[in-house]
Structure formats: C-alpha cells, structure tokens
C-alpha cells in the first residue's frame, strides 16, 4: 500500500493541452506522441460542497452554456462567499480548459466519485420529487403499475443511500459497503431498463423524464463503484466501471439533438453533457487500474480527496 498520494493542479497541464502535446480524453490526459497516459483528472470533496447545493435546483444541462461560471454564481447568489466564488470559477475554468465544462452539471464522478452519501441522498430526493411530479402530470405511456414500480425503486434507492451514509459508524463498514454495492447493482439494472423503455417510446423522448432517470442511473452506478473502492476491491471496481462505461456508450450514443421533445439548439447541451459523461465513465477504469497497479488503498484515496479544502479539481500524475 502506498499511503502518500501526490496530486497536481489541472492548471499545470493547461498549456500542454492547448499546444496539443497532451490530449484530453474523458477524465484523463495522454501524451500526443507516445500515447501514454500522463495524468487523471480527479474531483475533490470541495467540488461538491461548492456547487452541489446550487446544482440541486438545476433540472437539466439545458440551462448551462459557455457562461457556466456566471450562471452558477447567479444560482448560488447568497450561498457563496467571495472565496468560494473564486474557487468555483477556478473549477469551472479548469473544466472548460479541458473542454468538459458540462460535467459540472452531472457532478457524478470526475475520476473517483467523492460526492459523499449525504449529498447523494439529497440529490436522489430532488430527482425523486421531480419524477413523481412528472409521472403525475405529463408522462404518457407509463401504466399505473409501472409508475408504482418506479416509485418503489426510487424509495429503495433512497433507503440504500441512507444506509450507505450511516455505514461508516459501523464496526465493520466494509461488509455493509459490499452489500450496498450489490443492491445498487440491482437498482442500476432497473433504471437502465426504465431508460431503455423511455428511449423506445414512440415519438420524441421526454427530455425531463429522461434526464431525471439518467441522473438516477448515474448516481446508482457512482455509489456502486464508490462502495467497491471504499472496500478496496479495486479489481472488482474496475470491472464494474468497465461495464458502466459500455452501458453509457450503448444508451446515450444513439441520442442526437433531435431525439428530444425540446428545441434542438437547447437539447444539444444535453447531448454534449451525455457525451462528456460517457467519456469520463469510459476512462474511469483507467484511473482505477492505475490505483490498483500502484497498490493505492481505495479507502485512503477517497478519504484524502473528501477532505481536500482548497482545490475542487486535482490531477493524479501517472508515475
């Protein structure tokens, strides 16, 4: 086990990305000539405390364009101090310089997710309420039995995340995390099925329902991988992350700006976000592979990132 994990700041790589000597693919940077991976982008716990609360009010990536910083600052007026706005600005600029600004809206794991289960639960609750409202009003094609099943699964997910947030006080939290990872795998499979169903419905896809279900699926997968990393089951986390990446490629890759029921120009933001999310999901196994290869303890890794108080985004250089 290597207990000392050294990070760098994304700004250190910006010039090289701009000059083209480094290429950004999803959540990693690789050398343009040798093709070797140079560094992995990694969010810290600060990222979530900075924009997590504000983003709970954002229902889709539609409202986020290039002026993400000012929009977020506006959303968060009254929430942020001057220092926090600066940190937020640095974070968004970092994401923009790496051309993945839309990830701010998903906040579900640039690198290993360190969102924390309490935040995840808040997020689930927000999604749950919106889906509930949608099912009651605008969604056609869902039979009442299907609505009831969906609601039941949302409640189950909420319960599982609550258990995850309480697991750390157990004498043996690893066993609990393993159990939660298993249950989340089942829930992720369910929500993947629901998304498939929504995508196969006749006509244009209901954008809001799709986005809420997609968020739930992403959060389930994020918690699954998170739990496996906390139990230091990195080899298994790698397999799970590979499967998740493939599933996002399959689910989201077929969608275009014209697939949804909204204006094509606005839907293009959603599509960009989905492509970014997919790329990050597909490159995440490379980060886990690196942690595994260097014998970095998963639990230590998550703990260190969770307690970072200065920088929302970090780079893990590849030795």
């Amino acid at each position: 086990m290597i207990s000392q994990i050294l990070f760098e700041i994304p700004a250190a790589y910006e010039m090289a990305v701009r000059s083209g000597s480094l290429i950004q693919i999803g959540g990693l940077l690789k050398d343009a000539v040798s093709g070797k991976i140079v560094a992995h982008l990694q969010e810290s716990g600060l990222a979530h405390s900075l924009i997590g609360t504000a983003m709970l009010g954002v229902t889709s990536p539609v409202s986020l364009g290039l002026s993400a910083v000012s929009q977020l600052a506006n959303i968060g007026t009254g929430i942020y101090t001057a220092v926090q706005i600066n940190q937020l600005k640095t974070m968004i600029e970092g994401l923009q310089s790496l051309q993945i600004a839309t990830l701010g809206v998903s906040l579900l794991g640039v690198g290993v997710s360190v969102a924390g289960f309490l935040y995840m639960r808040k997020r689930f609750n927000a999604v749950d309420k919106r889906i509930d409202k949608l099912l009651d009003t605008v969604i056609h094609g869902f039979e009442s039995q299907q609505k009831a099943t969906l609601r039941s699964h949302l409640s189950q997910v909420d319960g599982i995340v609550q258990q995850a947030s309480q697991a750390r006080t157990l004498k043996n939290p690893k066993a609990e995390y393993s159990r939660i990872a298993e249950r989340m795998a089942e829930e992720a499979a369910h929500f993947e099925g629901e998304l498939e169903f929504v995508l196969k419905m006749n006509g244009k896809v209901n954008h809001e329902l799709f986005w809420q279900l997609a968020q739930t699926l992403m959060a389930c997968n994020s918690v699954r991988i998170d739990c496996r990393i906390r139990t230091n089951e990195l080899r298994n986390a790698l397999d799970v992350a590979l499967g998740v990446g493939e599933s996002y490629e399959r689910l989201f890759g077929r969608l275009t700006p014209l697939s949804f029921d909204g204006k094509a120009t606005q839907m293009a933001n959603t599509i960009t976000a989905l492509k970014d999310i997919t790329d990050v999901a597909v490159t995440k196994p490379y980060l886990i592979d690196y942690l595994h290869s260097r014998r970095i303890d998963g639990s230590d890794y998550v703990d260190q990132l969770g307690q970072e108080k200065e920088r929302p985004l970090l780079m893990l250089p590849v030795a």
Binding site: I2, I25, G253, P257, T265, D289, D297, L305, Q307, E308
Partner: protein, 234 residues
C-alpha cells in the same frame, strides 16, 4: 543478492508505515489534505521520514507496481468515436438550423408570390403549386440544405484525413430523391385561398418525417454508425 535485500527492506518499511494514518508530505506543489488532520509537527516527522527514505534510496515505489490491466491504445478508439459523434450532432444541428431558416424565408417568399397571382388565376384554373414553385424551391430550399450537407461531408473527410484513414464510400451522401418531393403539392392550386395548405405541405416536405432535412439526418446517423462500426446506432 543486493536487489532482493533492497526489496525486502522496502517491503518492511512500507508495512511499518501502514501502521500510521496516511498523510501527504509537506512542500509538494499540491497534495490532498491530510485526512487525519495532523499538525505540522507530524508533517515534519513525515518529511524527515521521507528524507531518510531518500537518503537510503528507497521509496514506497520500490515495490514494483502491478501490471496495468487495460490497454491505453483503446483510448484512440474512444477519441475517434467522440470526434465522429461530435460531427454527427454538429451536422444534424446545422442542417436542422439551415432547414428552419430557409423554410421561414421560403414561406415568406410564397406569401409574396401568392399575392401576385392574377385575379383570374385565383378564380379559375389555378396553376399547380409544384409547377409554380419548382425552381424557387430548388434555389431557396434544396440547394442551401444540400450545400450544408456538402460542408458536413467535407468535415467528416477532414476527420478521416487527420486520422489517415482510408477513404471509404460510407461517408458519401446521397443527394438524389427517389420521388420528387413536390409531388404531394401537385394537386394544390396555387392561389391565396390555399396559402395555409401550401405552407403546411412545404413545411412537411422540408422538416417533416422523411422530409428533406430528415433524409440527411438519417444519412448522417447511418454514416456515423458505419464509420464507428457501432451497432448501437441501428
């Protein structure tokens, strides 16, 4: 004998370190915060430990890393896939925007033309709409959309060229229409009283299902699927 001995020492040193709560070293450009919240005194201890390690020439990295399980070469496929998907979405969006714009312009043109229809043509024997608008439709609608498609075709060619991939026929658009799209308005007389009917029919020809714009969208998705070699787009 020297190397195994060095490894054995490194192994024991790492294990001894694992009894302590992990903490980052001081003086590194950026490290994650110390999870245990230890004070600077502890940092100093870690520093001296690190220095001692360096003096001895051992670090925790002395244990050889496990082999990587994933091949970084696969990332090229991912980058290429992203480029093609971006091309697909950008092309669809541009053709869609172009179709919206020309449709708006052409609808206004139709209204102007309808106002100019002579009185006697309005009452008896109005000419067929398809006959009247054929050339203007091509000039105002069809050619601009095809031009946008041509630009899109050039962009996918650039992706191919940049990647030094062999040019294939899959990226070619088919600009031909099996049937004249204007057949459906052949029966509509070109007179002001049919204005709404004509506008709706033309909107359908341009933006409707199987319309001019949709025809290119389908082709773009098909090309994308063929280029990526991905069955998810079926």
């Amino acid at each position: 004998m020297k190397e195994p001995f060095r490894r054995m020492i490194a192994f024991f040193r790492c294990n001894i370190r694992s009894f302590f709560k992990s903490s980052p070293a001081k003086g590194i450009s950026c490290t994650a915060s110390n999870p245990s919240g230890h004070d600077s005194q502890h940092h100093d201890a870690v520093d001296s430990f690190a220095t001692e390690q360096n003096l001895w020439g051992f670090t925790a990295d002395a244990i050889p890393p496990l082999p990587l399980l994933l091949d970084p070469a696969r990332l090229d496929r991912l980058a290429f896939r992203r480029q093609v998907l971006d091309w697909r979405d950008d092309s669809i969006l541009k053709i869609n925007q172009c179709a919206d714009r020309v449709l708006k312009e052409f609808s206004a043109h139709i209204v102007t033309m309808l106002k100019a229809v002579p009185i006697w043509r309005r009452c008896v024997w109005p000419k067929s709409t398809s006959e009247i608008i054929f050339h203007d439709f091509n000039r105002f609608v069809r050619w601009p959309i095809q031009h946008e498609a041509q630009l899109s075709e050039n962009r996918i060619k650039e992706i191919y060229d940049r990647r030094k991939l062999r040019e294939t026929s899959v990226r070619r658009f088919n600009y031909e229409w099996a049937d004249s799209p204007l057949n459906c308005i052949e029966q509509i007389g070109f007179r002001p009283s049919n204005e709404a009917k004509i506008i709706v029919a033309i909107s359908h020809i341009v933006q409707g299902d199987q319309g001019l714009s949709d025809n290119f969208h389908r082709q773009i998705i098909g090309i994308c699927a063929a280029v990526i070699g991905d069955r998810n787009f079926d």
